[in-house]
């Protein structure tokens, strides 16, 4: 794991090191997203300025690829797998349940900034289907009831931590 400072240096360093070599736009955007968690307006500005690629074209590339985000993400990023194996094991029901429990739709972030819900085509743990990932942790063989329990547990943990921080 790289520290925040390390990542910042990486993005700045990458911008600074840019020598006009073609094909560097996507790696630059990736390092901006690594650093900020999304691609902020300012980063588009900088990248366009340094590479000479028009901002409109940078924006075009960002919106073409599903990896890039223009909005910050929640503390817990849920990636619900909707690959074939998960789909036949009922992933749609799991995704519906998460949407209902959190009150957001796929691609959205809860108002308190705690959860973001995305779907992915395949995580590659097909034998554990249906699967979701919450940040780097994989949770498999889910049912609507068990995924609800999981989310409520995280909510409780967050609430407790918030109260503790407020009290302390």
């Amino acid at each position: 794991m790289i520290t925040t400072a390390g990542r910042e240096e990486n993005f700045n360093y990458r911008l600074w090191r840019y020598d006009g070599a073609p094909g560097e736009l996507i790696p630059l955007l990736q390092s901006a997203q690594d650093h900020f968690g999304y691609v902020p307006r300012k980063a588009i500005n900088y990248i366009a300025g340094v590479t000479g690629v028009p901002e409109s074209e940078v924006y075009g590339v960002i919106t073409f690829y599903s990896q890039f985000r223009l909005q910050p993400m929640g503390k817990y990023v849920i990636r619900a797998c909707d690959g074939t194996a998960c789909h036949v094991s009922g992933s749609r029901m799991i995704i519906d349940t998460i949407e209902d429990e959190l009150g957001i739709e796929v691609g959205g972030t809860t108002e308190d900034g705690i959860f973001t819900l995305n779907t992915v085509a395949c995580i590659g743990c097909c034998s554990l289907a249906p699967v979701i990932m919450i940040n780097d942790e994989t949770h498999g063989q889910l049912t609507p009831a068990s995924v609800r329990k999981l989310l409520r547990e995280l909510r409780r943990r967050e609430k407790a931590a918030g109260q503790k921080a407020a009290a302390g």
């Binding site: 094909g23 736009l25 890039f68 074939t84 085509a121 994989t138 329990k149």
Partner: protein, 592 residues
């Protein structure tokens, strides 16, 4: 000394391999010198992860579904006392050619060429790769073979591209070799985007050097000095291990300037994909490496003439390159001895879905689907009925159980309307609705269409709308014909493989399961009880606790029942929204 090896591919990690590794490390630091701890990639038995192996010379014992507690038990019993720990042994080799364990059948029926080192060596150690015969083929190719001889050898092996299209690899190489240019490129397509396919990921995570070696040999054959690996960003572990492998190969002089003192230069760079399925198409992949939106372009000119940066380029996928060192080392004839007349060698399949043994299996071409599903895959989960396999992902099609004696090769599979694809094989049981499957795949390709060709961009959307109507219970007569007509037009009028194959799942399910479509349209009935809009919702009295939450969530008050008593759904009022299923804390609501 005994060696304890833990399977640490992505599937192992998600099942808890890291905790097992940490526990073993703890034990090792408490008992220094009792064993050596190491890691390996994917053994292929995803359904038994996490896997732990105890190795002593040629004797291997593999334990499955290991927890930190069983790991401690294995240490006490097997490592210390030399007594096999009961209960978890999935596979064992006694060192004299005999094998055993509950899952011996899974491995016994495979022939591992691509997966030769997967699950046996540490992917982060170049020494272990060399000890397993690695980079010997490169030496042979650089020191003892001319570029023409290498191309001839690959041609003679009969190797065909494993990415899906099955184009003869040797022929492809000879095209790229024939063009003169100041620079040529070797590209490895590791943008494995098919949902339900994870062969390439496992090879990259478990044996990255095999892919590098194949690429370097290709470089020599076509006269290129630079290679790109285009890998999905969703495969962080594969990228990390590739980076380690590239560094190590440079350190040992297998990559860089003057490789093995032969004057040949070659280097490799990794490019991370950014999440676009269409980038699996080679011209779109080149555009993405060049930093643009990944959109395909018209061929000709073919990549062999004008590919990446307008230079002659050879593009193959991960599995194809991984075959190359084996062919060079063992000879074309040894490779051609496996498989069928027109499809030589082996193919790796990712078995997933409703099959008991989900995982990776490498079999000779020509093995039947039945053998794959039942003899290696162990049959259908929960004793249900085998209905079909879906092959080739969103570009492929369904092969029904009636055709399960179809051999897997590049001729027989397309004859059924499906495609070989890269090797994803999703097994479906009798709960799968084929109309809904078709809708699912089309939904995927529709959202992944890059938008360049009108027929692909809008045609798939129109097809999707019709399918959504059908599964929603609002199908009309004539819909099937409309789907077929649209499908034909999209196939003909799209530039790249994505559009040309997008209608396949729909067309192949209409071909084999027309009666299901008709039941949805004419009788408003889903024969597999899968489509929410066409089934009844019921509550299982054994699971229902009478908590009232479903009744509170029901938007049309279709659920009645007193607190603490079993609730009942009135299906004449129900609008099939599914709120009761997702809100129930006890999984008591079901569809029938």
């Amino acid at each position: 000394m005994k060696k304890v090896i833990i399977g640490m591919g992505t599937c192992g990690m998600s099942a808890g391999a890291q905790q097992v590794y940490d526990r073993m490390q703890e034990i090792l630091s408490e008992n220094p010198g009792t064993f050596a701890l190491s890691r390996t990639g994917c053994i292929g038995m995803c359904y038994r992860e996490p896997l732990l192996e105890v190795r002593e010379g040629d004797r291997r014992t593999i334990y499955g579904q290991v927890t930190p507690e069983t790991a401690a038990g294995i240490f006490d019993s097997h490592v210390v006392k030399g007594k096999v720990f009961d209960g978890n042994v999935v596979y064992s080799l006694d060192g004299k050619g005999g094998d055993g364990g509950t899952e011996a059948d899974f491995l016994r029926q495979q022939k591992r060429i691509v997966l030769r080192n997967c699950g046996t060596i540490d992917p982060e150690s170049i020494d272990e790769y060399e000890a397993a015969g690695g980079y010997r083929a490169l030496e042979k190719a650089l020191r003892g073979m001319t570029p023409e001889k290498i191309v001839e050898e690959v041609k003679a092996s009969g190797l065909r591209g494993r990415g899906g299209a099955g184009f003869p690899t040797g022929l492809k190489w000879s095209f790229a070799a024939s063009y003169k240019a100041d620079r040529k490129y070797v590209v490895c397509n590791a943008d494995e985007g098919d949902p339900g396919a994870f062969m390439d990921r496992s090879v990259l995570e478990s044996d990255p050097h095999a892919v590098l070696e194949g690429m370097i040999i290709c470089g020599k054959a076509i006269g290129s000095d630079f290679g790109y690996i285009y890998c999905r960003a969703e495969y962080p572990m594969a990228i990390r291990r590739l980076n380690i492998a590239i560094e190590a190969a440079r350190g040992k002089g297998y990559l860089g300037k003057d490789i093995l003192g032969t004057g040949f230069n070659f280097d490799i760079k990794i490019k991370q994909g950014a999440g676009a399925f269409v980038c699996g198409e080679e011209t779109a992949l080149f555009a993405s490496i060049e930093g643009q939106r990944g959109m395909p372009r018209i061929r000709p000119p073919f990549p062999a003439e004008k590919g990446l940066w307008q230079k002659p380029t050879n593009n193959n996928n991960v599995e194809t390159y991984a075959n190359v060192p084996w062919i060079i080392s063992n000879g074309a004839a040894a490779f051609a001895a496996f498989g069928t007349e027109k499809s030589r060698g082996t193919k790796v399949f990712a078995l997933a879905g409703k099959v008991v043994h989900g995982g990776l299996a490498e079999v000779p071409m020509g093995t039947t689907i039945h053998d794959l599903v039942f003899n290696i895959g162990g049959g259908i989960k929960a004793g249900r009925k085998f209905k079909a396999v879906q092959m080739g992902g969103p570009s492929g099609g369904c092969i029904p159980v009636e055709l399960d004696n179809t051999p897997v090769d590049f001729e027989s599979i397309p004859a059924t309307g499906a495609i070989m694809g890269s090797g994803g094989m999703v097994v479906l049981d009798d709960t799968a609705c084929m109309v809904e499957m078709a809708r699912f795949f089309l939904d995927f390709t529709q959202s992944e269409s890059c938008g360049k060709c009108t027929f692909c961009r809008i045609g798939t959307l129109r097809m999707l709308e019709i399918l959504a109507r059908i599964v929603g219970g609002e199908g009309e007569s004539g819909d099937i014909e409309k789907l077929q007509e649209l499908g034909r037009q999209i196939k003909e009028a799209s530039l790249c493989g994505l559009g040309q194959t997008a209608p396949n799942p729909v067309l192949s399910t209409i071909r084999f399961y027309r009666n299901e479509y008709e039941a949805h349209i004419a009788e408003k009935r889903c024969p597999s009880s899968a489509c929410s809009a066409l089934v009844d919702f019921k509550i299982n009295p054994e699971k229902c606790t009478g908590c009232t939450i479903c009744a509170k969530n029901c938007p049309v008050n279709a659920i009645s029942g007193k607190p603490k008593q079993t609730h009942v759904i009135d299906n004449s009022v129900c609008v099939k929204c599914g709120k009761c299923i997702t809100s129930c804390n006890f999984d008591a609501v079901y569809k029938s």
